[in-house]
């Protein structure tokens, strides 16, 4: 029985790879044909392809990338599919790279299609497509839209953004995304979620336990001279901080949240109350 299970491993891996090829096909875009073999990249050779930009993938938790080149007449098209360690990382990469001045389309967890490029995230996958057009002013929005929608159909996985993003207060929000590490530039706040507002920014970090969240809050409070208690969540403090201006950081269960870059600590606390109320 055990031998039979082991024998299945290569078959299952092969099946998985075959599935991976389904969405990585030039034929999903009408009129385009494959011009090169698929190039695989991993953490240790991504620099060869993305130069310093590779770090932007690695920091989110990068498993691998497959890159495919297609052609149509004088135009070429490159499809890069990054497999990330989890869906939040894939969404985070999308959010980091998206144009904040453009709307997010409902493609997988989110996507954007422009005249010569498209990006979207679905499940553990982040997809980037770039058209190198003979006419740089040409508009390929229609065919890119077709392509990303077909690719998204073939990719399995989550189609909704990280749950925590819905906790942010929506009013006056400009952008939101995933901070792969050091939220607010503070190493104690590891991976989390950030929303930028017309004034200030909010964050959410979900710790393993209430105890670990309380420990982080304690360390953070000790950083800021003059920090005082704030009535937010289970426990909180507010302070005036260098570079972060008015801040308020609270704990609600195992979730840490707060506001920074507000005019005063009181302003930050007032906003933090609204955020805490939205966290389950």
């Amino acid at each position: 029985m055990r031998i039979a299970h082991l024998a299945l491993v290569p078959i299952l891996l092969t099946a998985g790879m075959a599935h991976a090829q389904d969405y990585l096909s030039c034929q999903l875009a009408p009129g385009w044909t494959q011009s090169e073999t698929i190039h695989p990249y991993t953490a240790d050779n991504l620099y060869d392809y993305k130069d310093g930009g590779a770090e932007g993938y690695l920091i989110f938790g990068f498993a691998g990338m497959k890159s495919l080149n297609c052609k149509s007449g004088e135009n070429t098209l490159t499809i890069d599919v990054s497999e990330m360690n989890d869906a939040d990382a894939a969404y985070g990469l999308f959010a980091t790279n998206r144009d904040p001045r453009m709307p997010v389309a409902k493609i997988g967890m989110g996507g954007q299609v422009q005249a010569l490029s498209a990006t979207f995230a679905k499940g553990n996958y982040y997809v980037e497509i770039v058209v190198n057009a003979a006419d740089p002013n040409s508009d390929h929005t229609a065919e890119l839209t077709t392509l990303v929608n077909k690719m998204a159909e073939h990719i399995e996985g989550r189609e909704t953004p990280p749950e925590a993003l819905a906790w942010f207060v929506p009013e006056d929000q400009s952008t939101m995304g995933v901070a792969p590490q050091s939220v607010l530039g503070l190493k104690e706040l590891k991976r989390g979620y950030v929303a930028k507002y017309k004034q200030g920014q909010a964050f959410i970090v979900v710790e393993e336990t209430s105890e670990s969240a309380a420990a982080v809050l304690k360390v953070l409070r000790q950083k800021y001279d003059g920090a005082t208690d704030a009535k937010v969540g289970d426990e909180a403090f507010q302070a005036k901080a260098p570079y972060l201006d008015g801040i308020c950081i609270f704990r609600k269960g195992r979730t840490l949240g707060g506001y920074a870059n507000m005019p005063t600590a009181q302003d930050a606390a007032a906003q933090a109350v609204k955020l805490a109320a939205r966290i389950p």
Binding site: L13, D44, Y47, D48, D99, S182, G185, P242, Y243
Partner: protein, 380 residues
């Protein structure tokens, strides 16, 4: 420095790098006065060098902004006195340039700012530069690089024309090329070409000596040298603390390197990296680096390709070493096994035990047979 001294000689003998070039100087920064965390800080020395013939005065530790997400880190770096900031048009699809421009604000005039273009023709480069200037909120960049080139054949005449035009228009004060690989070919070509002011090169204590020779030769001609990937893989979680600091100090003390651009995501990293300035390599640094080099020598493939075709059983040695590194180095066992099982069946089934003597000799001292056996144990 004797340019013929390899890093290995240097580390094994514990030779100290000589005093920095005549252009170097020191400044004092009271870290405690500006630390955002209120941590017990101490006065640290800012060290400066001149970026080759550009004459730009730069701190030996600059800031690679690529993965910095919170602008407060960039702002504080400028407040601390760091004078070199690096970004690229392609980082985060342009969002990184926008963040850096916002974070520097009025401090832009106090710092040396560099960005890069991946465009491959004159018109595309010009368009990207204009976008970069707009996003960075500046009228000019101090250094404008062609992004990520490995071979002279990737750099066409019209790209060089675009660089020169940008200088004539005052949009870029100086121009250069960034490179991660094949520096031993690309950098001498850049020197010979005579149109590049600066090279931004991957460079750290663990690299092929040929890269160091190329960098030394370029610096001698007056080309400014900026080093990246100075942590020798530290961004991948392989090292921490003292090793990180020692690896950074090794580069900041290198006489051919003017500045470095380690990536920084938080205030703590910034404070640690600043400590590398103004301090010479100590005996402890030598010990740490020698120990780390010894560790990576035995295990980590430098991808030089010299083992290709030397295995008696025809195994793709570098590939197998990479697969085992996925598992042992990056904790990605499934990926390593997947790649391993994709090899030809005769390679998957091959066993090192079948050879009386290993025919593969790694010039960098990787214990190939040991690592190949490890791969066979793990994956086959």
């Amino acid at each position: 420095m004797n340019n013929k001294t390899s890093r290995r000689d240097f580390l094994s003998t514990g030779l100290m790098l000589p005093v920095m070039g005549a252009g170097s100087s020191l400044g004092i920064l009271n870290l405690s006065a500006q630390t955002p965390a209120g941590d017990a800080g101490s006065a640290v020395k800012l060290s400066y060098k001149t970026l080759g013939k550009t004459g730009l005065k730069v701190t030996t530790v600059g800031m690679g902004c690529m993965i910095t997400s919170d602008p407060s880190v960039v702002t504080r770096a400028a407040d601390l006195g760091i004078t070199y900031f690096d970004t690229a048009r392609g980082y985060q699809h342009g969002n990184n340039e926008r963040m850096v421009g916002t974070a520097l604000g009025d401090k832009r005039k106090q710092v040396v700012l560099s960005t890069k273009t991946e465009a491959r023709d004159k018109a595309g480069m010009a368009k990207e530069l204009d976008t970069s200037l707009s996003e960075l909120k500046t009228d000019f960049v101090d250094v404008w690089y062609l992004h990520g080139k490995s071979n002279p054949s990737e750099i066409h005449d019209d790209m060089i024309e675009a660089l020169q035009l940008a200088k004539q228009q005052g949009k870029a004060r100086f121009v250069g090329v960034s490179t991660h690989s094949n520096q031993q070919t690309l950098i001498p070509w850049m020197v010979q070409k005579g149109v590049f002011d600066v090279v931004l090169s991957a460079f750290n204590f663990s690299m092929d000596p040929a890269v160091e020779q190329a960098i030394n030769a370029a610096a001698k001609t007056g080309m400014g040298v900026v080093a990246m990937k100075v942590m020798a893989g530290g961004a991948r979680g392989q090292k921490a603390g003292q090793t990180m600091l020692s690896t950074l100090k090794w580069v900041t003390n290198h006489p051919s390197v003017a500045t470095t651009i380690p990536s920084m995501t938080d205030m703590a990293q910034l404070d640690e990296n600043v400590q590398a300035m103004g301090s010479t390599l100590t005996a402890e640094d030598h010990r740490v680096l020698a120990g780390h080099l010894k560790m990576i020598e035995a295990e980590y493939c430098r991808m030089c390709g010299k083992c290709e075709g030397t295995c008696a059983q025809g195994l793709p040695v570098a590939d197998v070493l990479r697969y085992v590194t996925y598992a042992d180095g990056y904790g990605q066992f499934a990926l390593g096994r997947e790649r391993y099982l994709q090899m030809a069946s005769e390679h998957v089934e091959a066993r090192c035990e079948n050879c009386p003597v290993c025919t593969v000799q790694c010039p960098f001292g990787v214990k190939v047979q040991m690592r190949m056996k490890r791969a066979q144990e793990l994956f086959a």
